[in-house]
């Protein structure tokens, strides 16, 4: 083995990147990638706007008041929440495509830490979520249907956007749990059911009592109540907060659990 050259690599010159590899170049590319997925963009942005134009512009909704605004504003907030949770769930579930294409394995051969990776996924999901909320709110403005004070537009829009973070965790959980081929279709179905149960399309009070009791345990119920609170001015029920926090813990724990399993297997 005398032919082996003696090479002393300069290990001290090698540094670990800051923030676990998180950076804005990668984030920008993540966002650009998401906008390329036309189906995701259409479902998360165009569909909620269409729903608002179909169901939110009823003549009667203009004049009927709902708290500090009108019913059209109430419906607009519900549909903005629907769009935002679709967007953030899709954003989180993109990990399933990355797993299927082997990209997450490739990333493990780089300095990118799992926390930085998840952080970028969540931020990307929130960008699409913000677009979704903005699109529905713009529809509310240009149709002159939704009516509430400027402060409430901002307060409710911001609540919806931040609240949709819960579903970024849900998306990550599903993305690590399910195979890539059908995760997107499944999300559409699951979120439609959860939206009905959470009262986003029809007020929960119109369901049979037993259905109402079940609906109150579902993950969109508490969030939907909370984001309407600024408009209705009816105060916060602590069970809504418990609902949101409990589901946040469940989804985050599920995502972390599946992610660890994923790491062990590949």
């Amino acid at each position: 083995m005398s032919t082996v050259p003696t090479i002393a690599p300069d290990l001290s010159a090698r540094r670990v990147p800051p923030l676990g590899g998180f950076n804005f170049t990668a984030l920008k590319l993540e966002i650009r990638r998401m906008t390329r997925n036309r189906r995701t963009v259409i479902i998360a942005i165009v569909v909620p706007v269409l729903f608002f134009l179909l169901f939110g512009v009823n003549k009667a909704y203009d004049s009927q008041s709902a708290g500090h605004g009108n019913v059209a504003a109430f419906v607009m907030i519900s549909l903005a929440l629907y769009g935002a949770v679709l967007a953030t769930t899709f954003g989180g579930a993109m990990v399933s495509i990355e797993r299927a294409q082997g990209w997450s394995r490739q990333l493990r051969l780089t300095p990118l830490s799992p926390v930085a990776y998840i952080g970028m996924k969540i931020m990307t999901a929130l960008v699409l979520g913000a677009c979704s909320v903005a699109a529905v709110y713009i529809a509310g403005i240009v149709t002159h249907k939704a009516s509430m004070s400027v402060g409430l537009w901002i307060a409710t829009g911001f609540s919806v956007w931040i609240g949709s973070l819960l579903f970024a965790a849900f998306g990550l959980f599903l993305g690590y749990l399910l195979p890539a081929e059908n995760v997107m279709q499944l999300i559409g179905l699951i979120l439609a059911l959860l939206s009905f149960a959470g009262g986003l399309f029809i007020p929960v009070s119109q369901y049979a009592p037993v259905v109402q009791d079940i609906a109150k345990w579902t993950p969109l119920y508490g969030l939907n109540q909370l984001v309407h609170t600024p408009l209705l001015g009816n105060g916060v029920d602590w069970t809504w907060v418990v609902n949101v926090l409990a589901w946040l813990i469940i989804f985050s724990w599920g995502a972390a659990w599946r992610m660890r399993g994923d790491t062990a297997r590949v």
């Binding site: 082997g102 990209w103 490739q106 051969l109």
Partner: protein, 319 residues
């Protein structure tokens, strides 16, 4: 098979230089399957080492542990004296994997930019694109690139951080002969700058042509470890086959010039570089009869070392 593993593991004078790879008593189990079953492997900086073995020999499992993609069931692994994950986060190690690992909806340039952004230091994106010969397709979506183009992209990604150790897991599987040749000439050229290269392959010719040192793996164990010439010399000999009831392994290994022996019922097989001496011994010192001498090709040697069956009857389809 009793071929001694000629582990070139000790270079006493070089303790100051950290080993590129240091595996000690490495085991990796998947349930009841022992994918890696006690591997000791030391690779010095600057070596080009091939891990050669048939499918299922434990090549990928070993490489996954070196890359920190999986944890050893027992034993230790260190890369440049540190945990693989630490070595990777410093850009000391990178790898070209067999397939996958690329996002179809990014362009070639975006993929390189993305990966480059994750390292504390990386080479210029334009430079890497041009040295990998993919500047012309930089704006093409990865999903629209051919297999060869994707492999050049993977190679470019692996070189972005200017790693000390480059790991290749069957990098040419699925390539045609020409693609394989140009890929290896690129690796060879790159390694001349002193990069350590560890690659897994089941192509004997690849290991022979491009590695300084070949580690033969079989059932998760190292069955031979030496230079290509040393491995070839194992293949240069002949096998003497004879009928010898009641033969003991001790008797056979004591035959002058015997490299390896095998007893199958009443039949004995003795591999040697000096088959004449073995034949003479068997015919004069023992009751051996029906003696037969067969020359062994290099592929037979490979099969003999790594397959489940003996030369001539090996049908494991490893090559």
């Amino acid at each position: 098979m009793t071929i001694a593993s000629q582990a070139p593991g000790t270079w006493p004078a070089r303790s100051a230089v950290p080993l590129a790879v240091d595996l000690t008593a490495l085991h990796k189990n998947f349930g009841q399957v022992h994918a890696v079953d006690g591997v000791d492997l030391k690779i010095a900086s600057g070596e080009i080492v091939a891990i050669l073995g048939p499918n299922g020999a434990g090549k990928t499992s070993t490489i996954d542990v070196v890359l920190g993609l999986s944890q050893p069931s027992s034993g230790t692994v260190s890369v440049y004296g540190m945990h693989p994950r630490q070595a990777i986060s410093r850009g000391l190690v990178s790898a070209v994997m067999q397939t996958g690992g690329l996002l179809k909806d990014l362009t070639v340039r975006e993929t390189v930019e993305y990966t480059a952004s994750l390292f504390a230091h990386s080479q210029a994106v334009g430079e890497v694109l041009s040295s990998a010969g993919i500047t012309e397709i930089a704006d093409r979506r990865v999903g629209k690139c051919s297999g060869g183009e994707q492999q050049r992209l993977r190679f470019a990604l692996a070189l972005l951080c200017d790693p000390e150790l480059l790991v290749l897991d069957e990098p040419t599987s699925g390539m045609d002969v020409e693609g394989r040749r140009s890929f290896w000439s690129a690796i060879r050229k790159d390694a001349e700058q002193g990069r350590t290269v560890l690659f897994a392959t089941h192509y004997l010719e690849e290991a022979d042509a491009y590695a300084d040192r070949i580690v033969l793996l079989r059932h998760g164990q190292i069955v031979a470890d030496g230079t290509a010439a040393e491995i070839k010399s194992m293949a240069a000999g002949r096998t003497v086959r004879a009928t010898l009831p009641g033969a003991s392994e001790g008797l056979l290994t004591g035959i002058p010039g015997a490299d390896s022996v095998e007893i199958r019922g009443e039949t004995v097989l003795v591999h040697s570089n000096d088959s004449d001496a073995v034949a003479r011994f068997l015919l004069t010192q023992t009751a051996a009869k029906d003696l037969e001498i067969t020359a062994q090709g290099i592929e037979d040697a490979f099969l003999a070392l790594t397959g489940d069956t003996a030369p001539g009857t090996a049908t494991t389809g490893a090559i």
